[in-house]
């Protein structure tokens, strides 16, 4: 049986928004998007979500179970919203690693956190979520907020996260998902494909990146699919919580 994702030259393809691109090019294209939006990432997040992204992240932190002295990995940590909170929770005896594949985002995050005086227990690592450069059984908690949909091989990334987690450690995946309400879904589609690129054009002069963000959200697995992907990767007791009528979902799994 032929794989529909494969092109004529037999190189596997993957989706980049609604387009199909060779797998080897996706990371590069995603990097371009984030290089372009890095400088105004926080402002755009606030504008596009109406500040809701702060509440979604707060909920993720509440469910993380992180405590003083823990070691936390914040993958695709971007501008460091979660890292900042975790840094205060784990205290001086704990450690938080902010990892991001994108150099521009990592720089913005590092500068922002240093300016806020968040230092001492925070490390910054440029790393690919599919091949995490950390020892096995190392972290008490791994989080990836609004990053998994940009990863080329999500299954590999989930397995890599499972490897670096300690037994009993938690993975939290905060990601856009499928709205549970049909009416909300229609309104959300109109918002994503008309308003988001327009705001991108007005503020960062880059509507294409925000069109990609909207498209990539639609291509991301829904709540149940992501749950089964986490189970297949080896996570135990996988649950998810829908937020804002399913626009965002928080998946949580425990390493057995």
């Amino acid at each position: 049986m032929t794989d529909p994702r494969k092109g004529s030259d037999a190189e596997p393809t993957t989706h980049f928004g609604f387009k199909n691109v060779p797998e080897s090019q996706k990371a590069e294209k995603v990097a371009e998007v984030f290089h372009s939006v890095a400088a105004k990432y926080d402002l755009m997040n606030d504008l596009l979500s109406g500040g809701m992204h702060r509440l979604w992240k707060r909920f993720a932190i509440e469910l993380s179970g992180v405590r003083s002295g823990n070691r936390v990995l914040d993958i695709a940590g971007g501008t460091g919203d979660l890292t900042k909170k975790f840094s205060h929770i784990v205290g001086p005896t704990g450690q938080v690693v902010l990892a991001d594949i994108n150099e521009s985002m990592l720089k913005v995050g590092r500068d922002r956190l240093l300016d806020l005086g968040v230092a001492g227990n925070v490390e910054f690592v440029q790393a690919d979520a599919e091949k995490l450069p950390f020892p096995d059984n190392h972290f008490d908690c791994v989080t990836i907020a609004f990053g998994l949909r940009n990863v080329t091989h999500k299954e590999d990334a989930l397995r890599s996260m499972l490897r670096v987690l300690k037994p009993g450690g938690r993975l939290l995946v905060l990601e856009f998902s499928k709205p549970t309400n049909a009416l909300m879904s229609k309104a959300y589609d109109a918002y994503s494909f008309a308003f988001m690129p327009l705001m991108g054009k007005l503020i960062t002069n880059d509507s294409e990146s925000y069109r990609y963000l909207a498209e990539s959200i639609r291509m991301h697995p829904n709540q149940e699919t992501l749950k089964s992907m986490m189970v297949d990767a080896g996570f135990d007791r996988v649950t998810y919580h829908n937020m804002t009528a399913g626009i965002v979902a928080l998946h949580r799994g425990i390493k057995p």
Partner: protein, 205 residues
């Protein structure tokens, strides 16, 4: 999500107030990483407080175990929040403490010792010239009102007691109470004497 939003707003307000005190955040820093659970019995509501050098973080639920749990009815929690002597409220019989109470006592002490520099906050909005003028004006007004109310109270009590004779003055009342006490003592002595005399008459018979 609504409760999370509400707590986020309250947290923002509390931390802004805490920043008005020059020592509060430095004193909260050693409590970083500690979790205090506040368990309101009636109405049933749970809240988690996480102090750090940034202020307080409030959470509707927290997966990790709390270092200290405070269980009390809403009335006690409210008086704990408003009272100046917070440690006295913590020793009430309807207030229960589990775990490391030192964390909660330290947090209560920090909140009790708050000395808020409102003038600094106002100066950020009005500038360095207008703020002392406004502050000086408000302070003198406050002093004037305080003195005015004290003087009104004194004059009113003097008028009612001395001039209109509607009420009995404090000293006059005290003198009457002393006389009453004296009469009471005399009566008790007289009663004792009667008893003694009646007993001696009975024995003579």
């Amino acid at each position: 999500m609504l409760l999370t939003g509400l707590l986020a707003s309250v947290e923002l307000g509390i931390n802004r107030v805490l920043r008005l005190d020059s020592t509060a955040l430095a004193r909260l820093a050693p409590l970083s990483g500690k979790v205090i659970a506040v368990d309101c019995r009636s109405p049933a509501l749970q809240l988690f407080l996480l102090p750090s050098d940034e202020g307080l973080m409030l959470a509707a639920h927290w997966e990790a175990e709390a270092d200290c749990t405070l269980r009390a009815p809403a009335s006690s929690l409210l008086s704990l929040a408003l009272s100046k002597d917070k440690t006295a409220v913590l020793h009430r019989p309807d207030v229960e403490l589990d775990g490391d109470s030192g964390v909660l006592l330290e947090l209560a002490a920090v909140l009790q010792d708050l000395e808020l520099d409102w003038e600094y906050e106002v100066s950020r909005w009005l500038g360095p010239v207008a703020t002392p003028l406004l502050g000086g004006h408000l302070r003198s007004r406050a002093r004037w009102y305080r003195q005015g109310f004290a003087s009104l109270g004194q004059n009113l009590s003097e008028y009612l007691a001395e001039e209109s004779r509607t009420l009995v003055g404090q000293r006059e009342a005290q003198a009457r109470f002393n006389e009453l006490d004296q009469v009471k003592l005399d009566l008790e002595r007289l009663e004792a004497r009667f008893e003694r005399l009646s007993r001696s008459l009975e024995t003579k018979r």
